[in-house]
Symmetry: C2
Subunit: 306 residues, 2 copies
């Protein structure tokens, strides 16, 4: 999957991930009304509105981007009907040739991490048969519980040729509360970065590891350091756009070959029509606004990388 | 909910949580065969087997225990049908008067944590209506991303009078990889414990906060220190039984009033019939074996507390 991600990035000249993190306030009223007319103002109605929203955005942008990153929380908030649409979104994006990064941020004791790994990346055994649960291509992982909480994910990834992005330095304002604490003279996020490098050696592709890292666009100086600490890891960079990161901040997340990083934007793309800049599209053309926002983001990043 | 947890503990004289963490290898063959006869060897069949297993165990032990802790990963591994049974288990346990601690270990940037909080503890707005998603009473939370990843959970908990258990020092062997790192002379888990105390002041019950902590039974010395650092927090103590913790190790997790901690056992209870000690029950009487294991665990802990 790391090879497919790289080939998709090269084919589309675009190290961009679109975060499919819908909430109802992003979904145009007309789409909501259609869904509610069919299912009522219910969890099923909300899920249907979100599915139609996702599908139109994916149809509008899939040929410009290598990958999507659905944030499972946004679906989980609608209970089971929401998770049904998460799964439908994963499947649809894969049909469209996109690499799907499940933003699930799971992690637990060994036997429990194994269950998460099986459910999201692998197959579960039922009697004489086996089944994929959610079947994303990559998953994000929280490392707070240490090596034995991460290794079951790597084991399943090796079997399935799938990958991980492990939280190292996250994009949110208080990510420093614990991640920046100095252990001796080394911030904790660097220690985590070193572990990512070590774990990554266990599951290498041709040039890059299947084990990547999450480092927020909002901390470019730290990104520069972490790029060196994790030379074989792809960095998934959230925080571009709505969270404040700009293309020029991102140069040091990439390698000299223009690879090694993939930049995520969620609200900035999927709710582009709600920004002044794209307001002329109108709510009914929200997907076209998303396409334009992807084109603009791609140009911003390509310019920064030149 | 913290008050209900305390009153349940006192009524049942039992600071015990049963971890409903089923895998198919714990479910007796006959139950599996019944479910497969109805649904085939499918995800639905596996989920049905697990539901019947859970229900029989809950029926056998609910009057001995204050709370259950279903581990969502064990359900998530079976995809959507598994999560349907997670929800059914949550609802059934609440009908039986049990406090339900959703062991979900979520945590993300603010807007995403808010979605998780809404989905698991609060209500989501759909047009003019609102709905509970999973509706557990407590949830476990991973603090690696810092204060702004935790506060949306506290906000929803205040609205709903629900609570949290935040990971501080986990029970698994490599929990020390990051949690034990020394920041100055203070291990990271103590810094997290101090934050739990601070966050907990924002959502106090009568004697205890609604914001508790997870500290593994497998690290009793650290439990002693953390008990002092978090005087108003209930400690959820995993790692008893199968992971190696014993009653005598647990004294210092409790306050002088015998409250302040609640000890979880999962495999040790739900798969008791597979242990030599309870083998005479036989697979068909697995729920009776679980009941006996709860009685034995309660006695072990009561003896330690005397």
């Amino acid at each position: 999957m790391i090879e497919k991600l790289i080939s998709n990035i090269q084919k589309k000249e675009s190290p961009i991930v679109v975060g499919l993190d819908p909430t109802l306030k992003f979904v145009p009223k007309s789409l909501q009304e259609e869904a509610f007319a069919q299912y009522g103002e219910t969890l099923e109605g909300a899920a249907e509105a979100i599915w139609q929203f996702n599908k139109k955005i994916v149809d509008a942008v899939y040929n410009l981007i290598p990958a999507v990153k659905p944030q499972i929380a946004m679906y989980e908030q609608f209970g089971i009907p929401g998770l049904v649409v998460y799964k439908r979104t994963v499947d649809y994006c894969k049909e469209k040739g996109l690499v799907v990064i499940g933003d699930i941020k799971r992690g637990d004791i060994g036997s429990t991490s194994e269950a998460y790994a099986i459910g999201h990346l692998g197959k579960v055994q039922v009697g004489s048969k086996s089944y994929y649960g959610f079947d994303e291509d990559f998953a994000t992982i929280n490392p707070y519980m240490g090596a034995d909480s991460v290794k079951p994910f790597i084991k399943v990834c090796k079997e399935e040729k799938k990958g991980l992005f492990i939280l190292v330095k996250t994009s949110n304002p208080s990510s420093g509360d614990f991640q920046d604490q100095l252990v001796g003279e080394t911030p904790l996020y660097e220690l985590v970065g070193k572990k990512v490098t070590e774990w990554g050696l266990d599951h290498m592709g041709t040039n890059y590891s299947y084990v990547g890292a999450v480092v927020g666009a909002t901390y470019p100086e730290m990104g520069k350091v972490l790029r060196d600490i994790m030379p074989k890891s792809f960095i998934l960079v959230p925080g571009y756009g709505a969270q404040g990161g700009k293309g020029a901040d991102l140069v040091h997340f990439f390698d000299k070959d223009g690879l090694g990083a993939i930049v995520n934007s969620s609200r900035g793309i999927i709710a582009a029509y709600q920004q002044e800049k794209y307001a002329t599209f109108g709510a009914e053309n929200f997907a076209d606004a998303s396409r334009q926002a992807v084109l603009d983001m791609r140009e911003d990043i390509q310019n920064a990388l030149r």
